[in-house]
């Protein structure tokens, strides 16, 4: 990251860092997709009867594992981005590119954790509730 801004610095930053501003929303977005998928498929199964609810349940449990894998990957990448082990810093209060960079990693990492918890929570009914009753 250079110190000199460029007249079209938005585009520059977007190349360098925009992905990580979006990245902080990737994990919660995965949660949202998983949630919508659960809700939509179960509604279809319970109202139309196709696919049968047993199959929907198994498919959604697989989808849960997939969502968790995606979130784990995102979390791992943002952890590397944050790099608390390498920098030894847990907070990032200074106006430097490094601090901004690690902060975004930190926020993304925490959001990955909360998203994983959310996915597990939402998947629990699939395990404990049998069907549509």
């Amino acid at each position: 990251m250079t110190q000199e801004p460029h007249p079209h610095s938005d585009k520059h930053e977007f190349r360098a860092e925009a992905l990580s501003l979006w990245r902080i929303t990737f994990a919660p977005a995965t949660w949202a997709l998983h949630f919508v998928l659960c809700y939509a498929l179960v509604s279809l199964s319970c109202i139309h009867g196709t696919p049968p609810v047993a199959i929907t349940r198994s498919a959604l449990i697989l989808a849960t594992l997939a969502a968790l894998a995606v979130i784990a990957l995102l979390g791992w990448r943002s952890y590397r981005h944050w790099a608390p082990g390498r920098t030894g810093r847990l907070t990032h209060p200074y106006g430097t590119p490094e601090h901004r960079h690690h902060f975004l990693g930190h926020a993304a990492f925490l959001l990955a954790i909360i998203s994983a918890i959310g996915v597990v929570f939402v998947a629990l009914p699939l395990l404990v509730i049998g069907g549509c009753q």
Binding site: T25, S43, T91, P93, P125
Partner: protein, 851 residues
Amino acid sequence: MTEHENRSPLPFPPSEQALAEPVPEDLRAAQVARLRSAWARPKGWRYWSSVNSSQVGKWYCLTALFFMLCAGVMALIIRLQLAVPENDLISADRFNQLFTMHGSAMMFLFAVPMFEAISLFLLPALLGARDMSFPRLSAFGYWCFLIGGVFVLSSILFDVAPRAGWFMYPPLATQDEGPGSDIWLLGLSFIEIASLAAAVELIVGVLKCRAPGMRVNLMPLYAWYVLVVGGMILFAFPPLIAGDLLFELERSLDWPFFDPTRGGDPMLWQHLFWIFGHPEVYIVFLPSIAITAMVIPTVARRPIVGYSWIVLSAVGVGFLSFGLWVHHMFTTGLPSLSLGFFSAASEAVVIPTGIQLFAFLATLMVGRVTMSLPLLWITGALAVFTLGGLTGVMLAIAPFDFQVHDTYFIVAHLHYTLFGGMIFPVIAGVYYFFPFFRKRMLSPRLGRWAFWLIFSGFNLCFLPMHLTGLLGMPRRVYTYSSGLGWEALNLTSTVGAFVIAAGFAVFVWDLLRPRRNQPDAPRNPWNAGTLEWAHDIPVEDWGVRSIPYVTSRYPLWQQPKLLQRMDQGRYYLPDSDEGARETLVTSVIDAKPVLIQRLTGPSWIPLVAAIFTGGCFIFPTFGLYWPAILCGLLAGGAILIWLWTATARPPRQAEKDAGLGLSLPTYASGPDSVGWWAIWITMLGDATAFSSILFGFFFYWTAQAQFPPPGAAHADGVAVAVAALALIASWALVVLARRTNRLQRVGRARAALITSTLCAGTGALALALAVWPLDPTAHVYPAIVCTIALWIGVHTVLGMVMQLYCLAGSLTGKLTPHHDADLGNVTLFWNFLALSSLAACAVIGIAPRLL
């Protein structure tokens, strides 16, 4: 483009040497005089043409406060009626109007607008900006809010207020006679549009108007919350606007979206309402927590603990809150698996919500706390909100909810969350920020009185309601018989309500009493560290004297020379050489200066546009469609005049000195310009509304055994295909026009624009012809198909106006190869329109033949 690329690197960040250089005394005085005259507030009756955020923010706050007091009076009448059994103070019908209006006004006329009002007021100061990027848009939003609010609220004086509950469930609300439901639908849609305008203004403000150097990790937490809440408004309000559209089409044109006898389904409204309604609760709650996040570090006299954690919880709550809506519908007979998902998500949202509260407690624990009035209100808030949160955890468990659904337990719960999560923190904010708003202090003695009255009155009123509910008293009954064990509890609640009212009377008196003899407040009375306390006393309307270079989260604590340098005009834009209002636009992530943005000044046009927009929404309530259409056209005309005369005009100089040796462009198009971001954000909301209508189509499909019904007439396939092709061609030509215009081939660009308008017209016409033979009153299938076509048709007409606007700009020299912001924005609009046209044509042309 090329002119910038040859330039040497800009002198940013500024060197310590440059910052230390003093400004000569006479130059400084001249700068002050010029700035003052550029930002002078209009005198006399012209005062009402003001557009800067400090004025508009003040009107907005006071109007929202007034509406809240009105809704509070309604609550008092409700409590009086319920004080004793078999009371006949008011009629059942009047009672229905009162509780409907109490809820609607508190939500739509107070809670959400108050967030916008306070943010409008605070945000420029927090970010070190002169003003937000679209002052006239804020003013327009305010006038819409005022007109719509007065219209909706005054209906109760004429005994025609909506009376089906604040969520307007069909079929009760669709079949209700009299204009009540229409007043709710149209009046509040109008206000929702104002909310979207405010969301655009605030999001763009946070992303593009931060002081140079204020990177995303340095933003005041309030700004993070505004960003999250703005985003939530964009995804939460449009489903309601779409729902309102369907609802109003049913009421005025008899299109049966919610009528089960013709294939409709009342549940669709419940879904659309609560997809809005639940996030709405967090839209109300998060900004108030944001105020807490500003007050806590100040009273603890140290930076906040866990900045990233709070950002996490704000963003996390923002997402999770969209997975909760069905917990308002637990008793509607959905499959238990589906209930399980929403129950689980409702429990999960507690985690991020709790994290921010723990971060605040941690800050207080490790800081050196000074007890002050704002902190008193914050502690009240934490106590009350925690109780509301705990009953929330109980209610998220579906079987418990089955038991207490529609009882006073719910009333107790929601008031605990809203008082604790919104009222108390907002009042804390009023005490904390009053010296900034009014340059005077509020009375600590009256403040303590108000606190203890409201706090004890609140618990006296709402704590017994838990029990009233558990004893089985249903909500929304206008009276009850004696002998059910509810008498003493209800009487206690009524007494409590009047104690709250007494507390508010003290508070409002202190707020509004004349202050001519009172001394000025100290500049930074709480010793806070954030930029809003760099304000000027006595008041100056220029926002900041010069826009500082920020390198820390608490600049007033951590950058010791900052305040002095700001005052002496040693930072950016210390002058207004052209006598115009300007602010600095910076880049999204690292806040590097990119542009000097010319801001619009006082004008009547926002008011005129708001009056006509109001007419367009208000006349249909009484079935007066022609005046409404006329008003719509006049509103459109006013907005066009406003845009044409005041936005994206080619500047006199291509570059200007921004101070500290930094020379910046004065015109931008594409992602560097604020207008482009505004269109992007608006279209995101627009796309959400359109998706909600498409969701309706698929909702009918999942909820019904046969949708489309067997033998139903479909939209004409050929005409739909022609429409899709014509609209895509129109989009491609707009893109081509932008390219060729940039390459100086102005003639070709104009030709492309004309052709694109013709293509768009063809597309709209083909779409109309495709659905023309359908009868939307017969069944919900043709009704939803026609609605989708109508949506695209209206957007296409809008798109054609934009194409012609650019053409006119090109012909008159407003739009040139170098100054093509308008064309860039129109291209962005058409990108969205092209995508939604394709989706629409696929849904009405292909999907019914496959399903």
